[in-house]
């Protein structure tokens, strides 16, 4: 297990290195940030000074090596636009995105798994069919449109919830978060639902399919033949087995929710990382882009590691040490 984790971490370092190289080359290929940052009527001298200040006068390999040198020291560079450390900019926005992602994932698990179970156990029932039809809407309607409709209904017509922004954060045990104040929660509900709709549909469909597959297996019949209550047969024998595919998908989706909450954050003016990365890409703010991607890659690596460990806990046939990946 320890060997497995160490090997995993070494691999992650390699992944981060390759990723930074690609981003460096990629952003360099798109264009020169100086064109955007400096006004059109700047003199040639001002221009040269700006280029030198940003370190863009050196060749790309030199810039990359300088970046790597700073990276080892924990310095991811300074934003071209804001003049602040890039990592700090990203990490400031990080909690807002995490709140949204955790909230959305919790919703999709606690709504999706029970509904999927029901639809899987009673596929012919009216409720079961309704759930499945509903889930098609969940992932086929465009995300931004769902968001706008939620705002229309709950913020404009019913006026129950605020339309956007993050609200006042509460503090609990020294942690500041939207979860600890009513105003914060009321601001969180709509964007979280918007983000959760797609994931919930996915979880419903995956749960249903796994239940349909598992329910006919001999060990489920055998469990029933032992005289177990249906609650135990479903709650333990079936659920523990379908958790294996579910955990994989939920893990991957959690990562993607954090990384790609851009649309929702834009619609609800949620001050998260997604908004920051979009702005930074438009302004070719390379240090922020790289810092953001390093944070996301590290997050994905952590999530995958957690999924693999959960896997070994759920399925006794999996041995972490034997895995190559």
């Amino acid at each position: 297990m320890t060997v497995f984790i160490i090997r995993r971490l070494l691999q992650s370092v390699l992944v981060v290195a390759v990723m930074t190289l690609l981003v460096f080359a990629g952003v360099y290929a798109i264009g020169n940030p100086v064109e955007i940052l400096i006004s059109q009527d700047a003199t040639e001298a001002e221009r040269a000074a700006a280029i030198a200040r940003l370190g863009l006068d050196k060749s790309l390999p030199e810039q990359y090596l300088a970046f790597l040198g700073n990276l080892v020291k924990g310095d991811l560079g300074t934003s071209f636009v804001f003049g602040e450390p890039a990592l700090q900019l990203v990490l400031q926005r990080f909690p807002a995105t995490m709140e949204l992602a955790i909230c959305a994932m919790m919703m999709s698990i606690f709504i999706g798994v029970p509904l999927g179970l029901y639809a899987g156990l009673r596929p012919e029932s009216i409720a079961g069919r309704t759930i499945m039809t509903g889930s098609i809407f969940g992932f086929s309607l465009p995300n931004f449109w769902q968001g706008l409709m939620l705002i229309m209904l709950f913020a404009v017509i019913l006026q129950w919830l605020p339309a956007g922004g993050r609200g006042v954060r509460g503090e609990f045990l020294g942690i500041e978060s939207s979860f600890f104040s009513w105003d914060g929660i009321s601001h969180l509900i709509l964007p979280a639902i918007n983000l959760a709709l797609f994931k919930t549909s996915l979880v419903i469909r995956l749960t249903r399919a796994s239940v349909r597959e598992t329910i006919n297996l001999d060990y489920v019949k055998f469990a029933r033949a032992k005289g177990l209550r249906p609650r135990r047969v479903i709650g333990l024998h079936v659920l523990k087995n379908i958790m294996i595919p579910l955990v994989t998908i939920i893990g991957l989706e959690f990562g993607s929710v954090i990384a790609f909450a851009v649309v929702t954050e834009t619609v609800f003016a949620w001050p998260g990382m997604g908004k920051l990365i979009i702005d930074s890409i438009f302004q070719l703010d390379r240090p922020v882009i790289v810092a953001y991607l390093i944070v996301i890659v590290c997050l994905f690596i952590t999530i995958n590691l957690v999924v693999d460990i959960l896997y070994a806990i759920l399925d006794p046939r999996v041995r972490l040490a034997d895995q190559k990946a």
């Binding site: 001999d218 469990a223 029933r224 032992k226 177990l228 523990k240 294996i244 759920l314 399925d315 046939r317």
Partner: protein, 328 residues
């Protein structure tokens, strides 16, 4: 003393494509301590008969007609809570594929203790003691360690022993075994057959042994029922059915099994294929494959009794004919 009495049992599956009459009028009695072998090809309804007794027929299937009297109670209209109380405690079941009957993600002790606790309160110590005892009975070495293992750490034969141990936990009155040795090596099969026979005799447990292998049944069962297309076509003592088969289908089954006595001769085959349960031939279901079929076979034959309790469902039973056939 009769433990189980099945009367005209019909278990039908109401699918979109039509009604599948998997079990279509099966009747038999079973005494305490008796072993009945049910023999038939795949799709003959033998497994569904077993599941009907357990009350584990899944939708779209259901028992359409008939009665299953177990120790005086009719199981067909027994409410689910009472049925669940019987399951595992008084009627237990062993399945065909030992690789699939144990839940792969739960430890053996979890799966055994939950079976105990489904039917009463058991303290941890008592439950473990009972599990160890039963695992020992079915010939599992060092039961204490094995209890903490997961199913994938066992071989196929060992898993089937665990499944048998689970069936024996409550010392049931009836065990339904659905081809429990088919998936095992012959040597393991022989061991398990021997041990089951011993355990059943010790506890005076009645048993229904569902199989497609007449040879297994010949050495194990007191009586044999042969099923074809949802019906029992022949039933009698093992000796009568195996040595003096009266139904052409039974004779065909025996003739198509290789044996030491007929070395070098061609095995006889039953021509054609088992009919699809969705569209059975009218009259006798075996008629299209039968060498003895005549015009009379267009009408479904009733069951008739030969000597003793030997029952056959055929217009042209082979009385004594099979003996002469092998002698010639």
């Amino acid at each position: 003393m009769t433990l189980l009495s099945i009367e005209n049992l019909k278990t039908h599956f109401f699918t979109k494509a039509g009604v599948v009459k998997s079990v279509d009028g099966v009747s038999f009695d079973l005494d305490r301590g008796e072993i009945l072998g049910i023999v038939g090809e795949s799709g003959s309804g033998k497994s569904v008969t077993g599941f009907s007794i357990m009350g584990l027929v899944d939708a779209p299937g259901r028992i359409a007609e008939g009665s299953i009297r177990f120790d005086g109670q009719n199981l067909v209209d027994l409410p689910e809570p009472q049925m669940r109380d019987l399951r595992g405690r008084r009627i237990a079941m062993i399945f065909q594929d030992p690789m699939m009957t144990l839940n792969p993600v739960l430890r053996v002790d979890t799966q055994m203790i939950e079976a105990l606790r489904a039917h009463g309160r058991w303290s941890d110590d008592d439950a473990r003691q009972r599990c160890r005892d039963v695992l020992g009975q079915v010939g599992i070495p060092s039961p204490e360690e094995r209890l903490k293992s997961y199913p994938h750490q066992f071989s196929g034969g060992m898993r089937q022993r665990v499944a048998i141990a689970i069936a024996l936990l409550h010392q049931p009155d009836l065990i339904i075994a659905d081809e429990p040795t088919t998936a095992l090596d012959v040597t393991i099969q022989a061991q398990i057959l021997f041990e089951i026979q011993k355990l059943v005799a010790e506890n005076n447990t009645a048993m229904i042994w569902v199989t497609h292998d007449l040879a297994v049944v010949a050495g194990l069962a007191n009586r044999v029922a042969v099923m074809y297309a949802g019906r029992i076509v022949e039933m009698g003592t093992t000796d009568e059915v195996v040595n003096r088969p009266a139904h052409p289908y039974t004779a065909g089954l025996i003739g198509s099994a290789p044996s030491r006595n007929a070395r070098g001769t061609r095995l006889t085959q039953i021509r054609g294929m088992a009919p699809l349960p969705m569209n059975l031939p009218t009259g006798c279901a075996f008629q299209p494959r039968c060498d003895h079929a005549t015009g009379a076979c267009a009408v479904s034959p009733d069951a008739s009794t030969l000597e003793g309790d030997h029952l056959v469902r055929c217009h042209h039973p082979l009385v004594g004919a099979f003996d002469r056939g092998t002698a010639a």
